[in-house]
């Protein structure tokens, strides 16, 4: 998008693209597709071969996509590719619980009938989403994919260069790091991170169960950490379950049978008999936020900017919000003829997202501290709090819209 229009230019033998994206996971492809649709030329670099990223078999990883995220995926042509494999979430039940006890007398019950926008979210397996992204990118003429490892990046007044392991050099006007919480793009730009360890590990697996889940998601707040049961198509649910690092490490070494014996009493028998399906995963819960989301000809999105506690499945949703915000900012800049990689333009993205992310980080942190606790006073407070929220439809709708990702300043792609 330079003086020669929205096409690639040649600088000797080097082709200058509008945007270079490092990271071909989920946020990277989403950004590439959204930008290509706005007329930007995009190159996506990932060290992992496409075949590996495609991840065809069921492995139990799944995302709770908020309504706002689903809208973005619809606009970039992804939702139509995955909708038949998605599971709508019609209700969310949140309650306080302790292993071996029934639910507390007060609980929160959200139904999608309370907001006008339809189901409050959808569950979608990782494998379907990745495959849809890779297929869509291949069909998009504005996107070039490169399987290579970045070894160096350089910025100069007219652009940014990436040196690759193969010896090839890529040239672009703007670099976007979508390379996760250990972002090499951020590190090479000298952007430091702030973070802390929650002392917890999330255990993730999928289970098959005897009785139908009726599209209801459950969240139990237990002393060691929250347990979420999220519905997948059929009689299958995704389980996200937090334990202290030590117990998680111990649980993780157990056989499938012993693992299930520990899991089973934690959510009771309302789904009937359960068995493990797919693999077991363990993710240490750490919050890591980049000190800056932008640099010279550089923007960071997703976990590269902010890796949050996944207590409410907000990681991918927050990343897609970054995508929406960055596309808005770059698109508007290009429409008015601004240099979209200038600090003035990139600062608009950072300003927009930093506030949202700080709010979310604080909210998830406080929620987790309040709930991961066996202090009787706190327990009573939160039981009462949930009872109050549940009794007040207005307040409940507020929480619901927040969970659906419909609050805050929404990017165009999410409206």
């Amino acid at each position: 998008m330079d003086n020669t229009g929205r096409m690639t230019t040649f600088r000797g033998m080097e082709e200058t693209r509008d945007i270079l994206i490092v990271g071909g996971g989920l946020n990277g492809p989403a950004l590439a597709l959204a930008l290509a649709r706005k007329g930007f030329s995009v190159t996506v670099v990932d060290a992992l071969p496409e075949m590996v990223r495609k991840n065809a078999a069921f492995d139990g990883r799944a995302y709770a996509l908020a309504l706002a995220s689903q809208r973005l995926l619809t606009r970039i042509g992804i939702w139509e590719r995955v909708v038949e494999n998605s599971q709508p979430m019609h209700e969310i039940k949140a309650s306080d619980g302790r292993a071996g006890e029934g639910p507390a007398p007060f609980f929160l019950h959200f139904q999608s009938a309370e907001i006008e926008e339809g189901p409050m979210g959808h569950m979608l397996e990782d494998r379907y989403l990745r495959r849809a992204f890779l297929d869509a990118m291949r069909e998009e003429p504005g996107i070039r994919q490169v399987e290579d490892r970045v070894i160096a990046q350089d910025v100069d007044p007219s652009g940014v260069s990436l040196r690759l392991e193969s010896g090839q050099t890529l040239r672009g006007r703007l670099l976007v790091g979508c390379d996760g919480r250990d972002s090499g793009t951020a590190r090479r730009a000298g952007i430091r991170r702030t973070g802390w360890d929650y002392g917890q590990t999330a255990l993730v697996c999928a289970i098959e169960h005897e009785k139908p889940h009726h599209g209801i998601a459950h969240q139990f707040f237990m002393p060691p950490g929250p347990l979420a049961i999220l519905p997948l198509p059929g009689n299958v649910s995704s389980i996200v379950w937090s334990e202290t690092h030590d117990s998680a490490a111990a649980i993780n070494t157990l056989s499938d049978k012993d693992y299930l014996d520990i899991l089973r009493p934690r959510f009771g028998d309302f789904l009937g008999r359960i068995s493990l399906k797919g693999k077991r995963f363990a993710y240490p819960l750490k919050l890591t936020i980049a000190n800056r989301f932008v640099g010279e000809r550089l923007a960071l999105i997703g976990d590269a900017a902010h890796g949050l506690h996944p207590i409410a499945g907000q990681g991918l949703n927050a990343g897609l919000r970054d995508v929406g915000a960055l596309v808005d900012v770059l698109g508007h800049a290009a429409r008015r003829g601004e240099d979209f990689a200038s600090p003035l333009v990139l600062d608009r993205y950072q300003e927009w997202r930093r506030f949202d992310v700080a709010t979310l980080a604080m909210a998830t942190d406080v929620t987790n501290k309040l709930f991961s606790n066996d202090n009787p006073v706190l327990r009573m407070t939160r039981d009462l709090g949930m009872g109050v929220v549940n009794a007040m439809p207005g307040l409940r709708r507020g929480f619901l819209r927040e969970a659906a990702g419909l609050t805050g300043e929404l990017p165009e792609l999410m409206r």
Binding site: M1, D2, N3, G5, G39, R335, R336, G337, D347
Partner: protein, 248 residues
């Protein structure tokens, strides 16, 4: 008309590069212009798109339009217009701005013709344009009517003239002179003389006397909380912009 040199003395390049960096530093000396620029560009691009029936979502929407940016400075408006496909001439009465703007355009990979000249001299030479941008200049000239007449002569019949300036009232005195020059120190003291500011009705009269047909006026309003400028239909009390056409 004195054309700018095509080559710059190598010994001067470093100096001009530093000056270009200064012009384009959003937190530097020209911060107020950078803050206002998105708002100015939104107005200009919409007016051009409307007048010449161009689609801003298309690549290079202003291709084929010849545009003059009077008082181009470091090229803050010229570059976006060139990026949108217009054939741009930037003119500035200050000679030192010309190589500065040229160097920055080269760094941006843009082709723009920058000239050290005045509107009157260009009109005399018989130059014509589809669009004349006349942003924050008219309040600095000695004879506004003669100047605007030259702007009209520079337009092809049916051409578009976008002219912004500052209103004259107690509020504009407080904001533009006391606020911008003394309190915020955004502008050097003495940048503006309040009695040279022009009320919107006076500007419309002047435009008509110069042979232009005014078609639109809007305010540019600064919000001190969000630190953003926005376009206002009603509030023309300080900064405002007008669009006028040279009748066919």
């Amino acid at each position: 008309m004195q054309a700018a040199p095509n080559t710059v003395d190598p010994g001067e390049v470093a100096k001009f590069e530093a000056m270009a960096a200064e012009w384009w530093d959003p937190t530097g000396k020209f911060k107020p212009l950078h803050l206002m620029n998105p708002c100015r560009l939104d107005y200009i691009t919409r007016q051009i798109a409307g007048e010449f029936d161009r689609d801003l979502d298309a690549p290079k929407p202003f291709a084929g339009l010849r545009l003059l940016d009077i008082g181009c400075g470091g090229g803050l408006l010229s570059e976006p217009m060139a990026r949108l496909g217009a054939t741009v001439v930037g003119a500035d009465a200050a000679a030192r701005n010309i190589p500065v703007a040229q160097i920055h355009a080269e760094q941006s990979g843009l082709h723009i013709e920058y000239l050290h000249t005045t509107a009157e001299a260009m009109a005399e030479a018989g130059e014509t344009f589809d669009v004349v941008l006349n942003m924050e200049v008219v309040e600095h000239v000695a004879d506004p009517l003669a100047y605007l007449t030259a702007c009209r002569q520079l337009l092809k019949p049916g051409g578009l003239h976008v002219c912004s300036t500052i209103n004259r009232n107690p509020k504009s005195f407080a904001m533009a002179i006391v606020g911008a020059e003394y309190v915020m120190r955004w502008l050097p003291k003495g940048t503006h003389e309040w009695n040279k500011f022009i009320k919107p009705d006076e500007l419309f009269d002047l435009l008509e006397q110069a042979g232009l047909r005014p078609v639109d006026k809007k305010g540019f309003v600064f919000n001190p909380i969000s630190w953003r400028w926005s376009i206002s239909e009603r509030d023309l009390s300080v900064n405002y912009v007008t669009a006028s056409l040279r009748p066919v």
